[in-house]
């Protein structure tokens, strides 16, 4: 439907220059982004309203005077019509006011900044592992279609799609930490190393490098290795499968035949020409799996006692701390939506073949 609109616009003005096209696409995507984010806030707003907890009681306690109750009720805007309440909610969020967490008695935004770097570190490490292994695996599978390595890739992918990540976390801890002792246990650092490095970025691996503390760095890596590998396996499954299918389409193109016919080395044909042409869709795939890792980390963080957003959200859940839950949901949701929409846009802007 969106494409029909674009095509119609183009048909009306055949001699459009690239700049105008770019601006048009940009506006369209910003519109999509705004609309999707609005939808997301609306959903969290509705969820917040469905909760069977009286938000006024949560503030004043159950022994408050009726007058106090009424005043807080008005301050929270609960007597207003629903659309005004939604507007109030939107303006508060726009000011960065997600309310106060009942669990930590800190503003939710402050908490989110505290917990986010741990999730970011885990998801980034996992994506790096998945991409660095997944792309070569996918390429090799495509060039050896129907051979052993292709079947192995297919099975690796199927297992990745089928395995419960919280369970692999537990089994991984049992085998590699408890039995073999190859990696460090739950958490981001051993207790002795806690607070030794100045938090600059909040990513312990980067911070320890910045303050040139090798011991802390090694310990952080030992803790990161297992959860990042297990999450990275999910990325690997997805990325290798998509790479394989993109490569197969590309290798059947005529320019590949031309390159081969003029005697170009096979390695260059595959890794330079074919792979070069699938980089743009691959970026989309990687960005999407990165977004889903930020989300999927919830379960892994619970298993590994990793002090990230996922753990923050689940802990708040059990303390009926809805402000914190919705704030966290909104933050992860926003990143997810932005990555989604951004890579869709990137895809259309960078790959001339996608433009209608």
């Amino acid at each position: 439907m969106a494409n029909d609109v674009t095509t119609a616009a183009r048909a009306a003005a055949p001699g459009q220059i690239f700049g105008a096209e770019f601006a048009y696409e940009l506006i369209r995507f910003l519109g999509t982004l705004a609309l999707t984010l609005l939808g997301l806030t609306f959903v969290t707003f509705v969820i917040g309203r469905v909760v069977p907890i009286d938000p006024v009681l949560a503030v004043v306690g159950d022994r408050a005077m009726p007058e106090t109750y009424e005043r807080v009720r008005q301050e929270l805007g609960i007597d207003l019509p629903i659309y005004q309440q939604f507007w109030l909610y939107l303006t508060k969020i726009a000011e960065g006011d997600f309310g106060t967490s009942a669990m930590t008695s800190q503003p939710v935004l402050h908490d989110l900044f505290q917990y986010f770097p741990a999730t970011l570190e885990l998801a980034t490490a996992a994506t790096l592992i998945g991409v660095l292994l997944g792309i070569p695996l996918g390429v090799v599978a495509a060039t050896h279609q129907g051979r052993l390595i292709d079947h192995v890739t297919r099975i690796v992918g199927l297992i990745g799609y089928s395995i419960p990540v919280f369970w692999t976390g537990l089994v991984g801890l049992l085998v590699f930490y408890a039995w073999l002792g190859w990696v460090a246990g739950p958490g981001r650092l051993d207790i002795g190393y806690d607070g030794l490095v100045e938090p600059v970025t909040g990513l312990i691996t980067i911070d320890s490098l910045l303050s040139v503390d090798w011991d802390v760095f090694k310990n952080a890596i030992a803790h990161l290795l297992l959860p990042a590998s297990l999450l990275g396996y999910l990325t690997l499954a997805y990325v290798s499968r998509m790479t394989r299918s993109f490569m197969l389409t590309e290798l059947n193109q005529e320019y590949i035949l031309t390159a081969r016919a003029k005697g170009m080395p096979e390695r260059r044909v595959i890794w330079r020409h074919a792979l070069g042409n699938i980089i743009v869709p691959l970026i989309t795939v990687v960005a999407l799996s990165y977004a889903s890792l930020l989300e999927g980390a919830v379960l892994t963080e619970t298993v590994f006692a990793w002090p990230g957003l996922g753990q923050y959200i689940t802990r708040s859940l059990f303390n009926a701390d809805m402000n914190a839950v919705l704030g966290g949901t909104l933050l992860i949701g926003t990143i997810f939506v932005c990555l989604n929409v951004l890579c869709d846009m990137l895809y259309r802007l960078l790959d001339p073949r996608v433009r209608p």
């Binding site: 439907m1 969106a2 999509t32 609309l35 999707t36 939808g39 997301l40 959903v43 969290t44 969820i47 917040g48 469905v50 909760v51 069977p52 199927l158 297992i159 799609y161 089928s162 395995i163 419960p164 990540v165 919280f166 369970w167 692999t168 537990l170 089994v171 801890l173 049992l174 408890a178 977004a291 889903s292 930020l294 989300e295 999927g296 919830v298 379960l299 619970t302 298993v303 959200i313 689940t314 859940l317 059990f318 809805m322 839950v325 919705l326 966290g328 949901t329 992860i332 949701g333 997810f336 939506v337 989604n340 929409v341």
Partner: protein, 297 residues
């Protein structure tokens, strides 16, 4: 004429013979794929055990026997017992009913909803199409597990909330598929003929368009089931899905977590069950896609 000949004949004498013949031909192709056959076997086993669980000679999945708590796998308890002395094999098999129930319920909500939105959007078009597809896109961009978490937390933890939460975040792909299929057939001659004969749009959608969406929807559904099972198990693991003493696999892993170091079987066995069933659905879906939808592999 033998049965295969009757099925494979080039000149079927009736509509029933033709359609049975087509099924048989698909089956012949499907049968050649060993991985898909393994998937089919796993799914069939899941369904059979789930249906027969009450009549199988099993111990009760909820009866506690504290004298036998945390017994390792052995002759009396093939897969050991959990922290309340309940037989893990019985709990796994009764858990299959829960898992299958969740999957079927989600699919029963999601598929009609997606079909309805997608076909109406594609057939009627215009402003309605734009609005419906925008809504679909918005839902498509939502993080599934996180929203399900927040949603379950808001209502109350339990099986029903988990099912609704998963359903709410899983319908958009079906709407997309149904719309795409509708767009390819809405201007086909047979649809125009039906229109000329005065069929209402509802009748056209239901009788002439929905049947053509069914193949892609079935393939998508089978591939989706693994995701549904994993999300449901994840919610159960976090304590937000089925509540004790229901033998839900995710929740079983969660309780087994406390005994992981010394009694590994309590947590690992339900995980193997989740993995096997998800893998079964994935293999089956892959195989079905190869047979029914060759252009997309």
């Amino acid at each position: 004429m033998s049965a295969p000949d009757w099925l494979l004949t080039e000149a079927p004498a009736s509509r029933r013979q033709a359609s049975l013949g087509r099924w048989y031909r698909n089956w012949l192709v499907f049968r050649r794929n060993p991985l898909a056959m393994i998937g089919l076997a796993i799914v069939a086993l899941l369904i059979v055990t789930a249906v027969l669980a009450p009549v199988l000679p099993l111990q009760s999945p909820t009866a506690q026997a504290l004298s036998q708590r945390l017994a390792p796998p052995g002759a009396q308890h093939w897969l050991g017992t959990d922290e309340l002395g309940r037989d893990i094999l019985a709990r796994i098999i009764f858990g299959a009913r829960i898992t299958l129930g969740i999957v079927l319920m989600v699919v029963a909500i999601v598929v009609p909803l997606g079909l309805l939105i997608g076909t109406i959007s594609g057939y009627i078009g215009g402003a309605l199409d734009v609005v419906l597809m925008r809504i679909t896109d918005i839902f498509l961009a939502f993080p599934r597990l996180i929203l399900a978490l927040a949603f379950v937390a808001a209502i109350k933890p339990g099986l029903e909330s988990a099912i609704i939460a998963i359903a709410l975040t899983s319908w958009p792909p079906y709407a997309r598929i149904a719309r795409a299929e509708t767009l390819t057939v809405r201007n086909a001659d047979y649809v125009k003929v039906a229109k000329l004969q005065g069929a209402s749009w509802l009748r056209i959608i239901w009788h002439y368009i929905v049947p053509l969406c069914s193949t892609s929807v079935v393939v998508r559904m089978t591939l989706d089931m693994a995701g549904i099972i994993l999300t449901a198990a994840g919610l159960g693991f976090l304590g937000l899905g089925a509540q004790p003493p229901t033998p839900e696999w995710g929740a079983m892993i969660s309780t087994g977590r406390d005994f992981l170091l010394d009694q590994w079987w309590v947590a690992t066995i339900p995980g193997i069950a989740i993995f096997a069933v998800s893998l079964g659905f994935n293999l089956l879906g892959d195989g079905l896609r190869d047979v029914l939808d060759p252009k997309r592999t």
